[in-house]
């Protein structure tokens, strides 16, 4: 393994030290680990996300005005622990409450849920929303459900703007659910990533193979397929994304008044001709920008054929999987409200416009 790292157990800390040096408007806390904005003058709902490290710039790169108030990074591909979310939330709470944005992984869910209970015990108003947009997972009954992947980036942008606009906790939670049911993603790996602590690739792919439906930790998806070419793979990915089979699942939502979890049934919304979308063509780590544009070209053509209007696009490294060679495509159906929130100013290390 060749990586620009030193001691394996210092990888995440040393990254955070770099972020602290590079971005003087962020407050980087090392024990427990969290990143918050230095400037916190406004009374508003605070938006916090977090998850295992290795997906940079997600989430630390999205802390700043117009997006996240705080991010809690775990060890590499390991969810953060409840004490991180607990302290981070107490730091940024203005009394308007906290919204946790959780990517659907068992570890993330269990740790965030524990933090929710701890914060509730301290009298903090708190709400949590799952993002589970990876359509490669078909079945919610016999798996832990669809994984949370790159739609999370778009959710953080839109919800961050909503918080700045003064949405209260209930309204912003409702919007978060709306996004969760309207975002779809699909990933493909051409080669595996190497987790520093493991020292070798997470799985083995032959030269002529791809993992179709890869997760952002190298979890398998639908199947291992023969490598064909860019357009064929993109077309196959888009048919998975455009499949309108409704996805229904039970999610747990925290009831602030009762102080307990409530089961709620969620169902995805269809994507039809005439709809407007934001498209994210995302680098999973080690894919050249030229290939991302190649993919975007085909995605745009396919959506045009379906008479689906691309209103905005993002093309680059937004939700990565260390040094994995591969890409993911996300399509988020938007309405005018979501679009105008998306366009609002944002000033973070990894996303910046309008300011």
């Amino acid at each position: 393994m060749k990586k620009m790292i030193n001691q394996i157990d210092q990888v995440v800390k040393e990254q955070l030290q770099g972020i602290a040096k590079a971005h003087s408007d962020l407050d980087v806390h090392l024990d427990p680990m969290y990143i918050v904005r230095k400037e916190r003058e406004k009374t508003k709902v605070a938006l916090i996300s977090g998850g295992g490290s290795g997906h940079e710039p997600m989430h630390g790169g999205y802390v700043g005005k117009g997006m996240l108030d705080g991010a809690c990074p775990g060890e590499m591909f390991t969810s953060p622990t409840p004490d991180q979310m607990y302290e981070c939330a107490q730091k940024v709470d203005t009394g308007e409450g906290i919204l946790f944005l959780i990517k659907n992984y068992t570890g993330d869910v269990l740790n965030f849920e524990t933090a929710v209970e701890l914060l509730h015990g301290e009298g903090v108003k708190v709400q949590a929303t799952l993002i589970d947009d990876d359509v490669a997972v078909k079945d919610s009954l016999y798996t832990a459900g669809r994984r949370g992947v790159a739609t999370t980036v778009l959710a953080e942008k839109i919800l961050g703007a909503a918080a700045e606009e003064g949405y209260n906790l209930d309204k912003i939670s409702a919007l978060a659910k709306h996004i969760a049911n309207r975002g779809r993603s699909f990933g493909v790996a051409l080669s595996a990533c190497t987790v520093p602590a493991a020292g070798k690739p997470s799985f083995d792919l032959a030269d002529n193979e791809i993992e179709f439906g890869i997760g952002i930790h190298g979890e398998p998806g639908i199947e291992r397929r023969a490598f064909t070419d860019g357009d064929t793979i993109t077309t196959d990915m888009m048919s998975e994304i455009l499949d309108n089979t409704p996805y229904e699942r039970i999610v747990r939502r925290w009831d602030n008044n009762l102080g307990e979890w409530q089961d709620e049934s969620w169902i995805t919304e269809p994507l039809n001709s005439g709809d407007k979308v934001i498209v994210l063509v995302n680098n999973l780590g080690a894919t050249p920008q030229s290939e991302l544009y190649m993919v975007y070209r085909k995605v745009a053509e396919i959506l045009e054929n379906h008479e689906i209007q691309i209103e905005r696009n993002l093309i680059g490294s937004y939700c990565t999987s260390l040094d994995m060679q591969g890409i993911s495509i996300s399509v988020l159906k938007v309405d005018d409200e979501m679009l105008s929130l998306y366009d609002m100013p944002v000033n973070t290390p990894a996303m910046r416009w309008g300011c």
Partner: protein, 208 residues
């Protein structure tokens, strides 16, 4: 006939050594059907527990277990952190202010812990998780409550091993391994294995 506070402390200290020794083995199991970090995380968590133990070793069993749970909660990460953290925090509830436990009390303690895991993780027997091992352990302990703690734990280790190995032909329905579908069949579950290791450490401590 009972298990003392000193043996409980011994159990937790020995667990730290066990997870250090078995770190690579657990991580390798997790590489096959998960994300290759279970050994690393368990070792990190229990080394922290070992550091913390001297400060609570003279307290009652409940306090020792609760401190262990809180420490694991904030240091393991992944799904195992909240699950093992909850296990020890819940296990502590019925043994607060106790200095030693008979088999009935120990069984209740472990059952509370297992119930905590079930409540947080929502897994059922047969889902290919640590619950399969715990179910084997609890069934074994409840068979005969009139024997010594040492004998009961000894038998439970044998049953836990069978339960752990029963996860090999199972298809995972919870956690990250569930995404593998049928490809998860043929691999031993890492969480079921770490729970087995935890029990062997308890059994060994009860012999000393």
């Amino acid at each position: 006939m009972t298990i003392t506070k000193q043996q409980i402390v011994q159990w937790l200290e020995d667990s730290a050594d066990v997870f250090q020794n078995e770190q690579d083995f657990l991580t390798e199991l997790d590489r096959e059907i998960g994300d290759a970090d279970h050994g690393l995380n368990m070792n990190r968590g229990f080394q922290k527990v070992k550091e913390k133990l001297p400060s609570v070793a003279d307290k009652d069993i409940g306090t020792i277990l609760k401190t262990t749970g809180m420490t694991l909660l904030s240091s393991i990460g992944g799904a195992s952190g909240p699950l093992y953290g909850t296990f020890f925090i819940r296990a502590a509830t019925s043994v607060m202010s106790k200095e030693e436990l008979n088999l009935v009390e120990l069984t209740k303690m472990l059952q509370d812990g297992m119930d905590g895991i079930v409540q947080r993780g929502k897994a059922e027997v047969g889902d290919k998780t640590m619950i399969d091992t715990w179910n084997g352990i609890m069934t074994s302990l409840k068979q005969d409550q009139n024997i010594s703690v040492y004998d009961a734990l000894n038998t439970a280790v044998a049953n836990a091993e069978v339960a752990m190995k029963s996860t090999i032909p199972m298809q995972a329905r919870k956690g990250r391994a569930s995404y593998l579908g049928e490809r998860s069949i043929g691999h031993q579950d890492p969480g079921a294995t770490s729970s087995y290791l935890l029990l062997t450490a308890l059994s060994n401590a009860s012999a000393q």
